[in-house]
Symmetry: D2
Subunit: 103 residues, 4 copies
């Protein structure tokens, strides 16, 4: 199980808004039923196999080019463990369990 986060940044798009491009990229994830994903204000976290994640990232960025954007900048973080399986929920739960305040 690999967990990654993708941020897609259109350069040379029509305006300073990115939401239409992010929405279009998320819509293509319907073609990757084995992946789970969660959108946050700074990116989309993907959970699944490395190959599915990389294939989804390629498809997601293609949707931005399809909308006529000439340049796409991607920031990808990938967290991969071979000592234990690590899901999104387990990562969050293990942090929550170690908090000392609930600020």
């Amino acid at each position: 199980m690999t967990i990654a986060e993708l941020t897609l940044i259109p350069i040379g798009g029509e305006s300073s808004s990115c939401s239409q491009y992010v929405a279009g990229a998320l819509d293509v994830l319907v073609d990757f039923p084995d992946l789970s994903y969660r959108l946050n204000p700074m990116g989309t976290v993907l959970e699944g196999s490395m190959d599915d994640i990389l294939a989804a990232i390629k498809a997601m960025r293609e949707t931005v080019f399809d909308k006529g954007v000439p340049r796409v900048y991607m920031v990808i973080k990938i967290d991969e463990r071979r000592d234990k399986d690590n899901t999104m929920d387990e990562k969050l739960a293990s942090v929550a369990a170690k908090r000392k305040n609930d600020h």
Copy 2:
């Protein structure tokens, strides 16, 4: 309003687990009441002024050193707009409004 995401990676820590360090870093945010934050499986999104965000990031990474970790690698993404105020909720809502499927 600036929105940032911080990922803190301890190098040379006791094990391959990072959750204790992330938890300790989040606990220090109680000292930054003007910042909002949301944890996700790949980082912590912070919302507030640039100076508060940078001050919080410095304090968060210090908690990792305080636990005896010799090296800390940080990945920071910062999204700053001067054409409109942009909150975490507004970013998410504007994407949701443009989705074509709810996969």
Copy 3:
């Protein structure tokens, strides 16, 4: 032509040093003759096709696992243009041409 930068971060390795892992990852690039690369103090810039870059990144991170590291964190930036071909040298030259001081 796509340009990317990879940073490989071992988590749970023997020490806080990463150089042995970076060196081993660079050595595997001999298997990707169509890629150009340049090491800098914060990552390795790769130039070539998207598929070659992603295949090289997978092979590079595998060398870190092969050395017994249980967890590998990767930070990948990818800059892709469809309006013009963009090599590493062209990117640097176009910045240099627009500098106003040579500090």
Copy 4:
């Protein structure tokens, strides 16, 4: 000694070219004589104290806003060690010393 890498991405600029913005940002480093920096095709590596680096990053991104860009996305990687002083040259040399091929 802290080493960081900054990538500045203008969103909503006039075109898909970023070089004018990168050049302008580098020009402001003349105001930070205690910092060393090296440009690479995917970012600018900065070496110095954490506070000087963060101050320089703030000044660099302000030059992009000064050129009328409404939104600036920054990707910052920071590598900080407390077990030894780590310069850009030392990082590169320690990798070079461990290479097995000179591909």
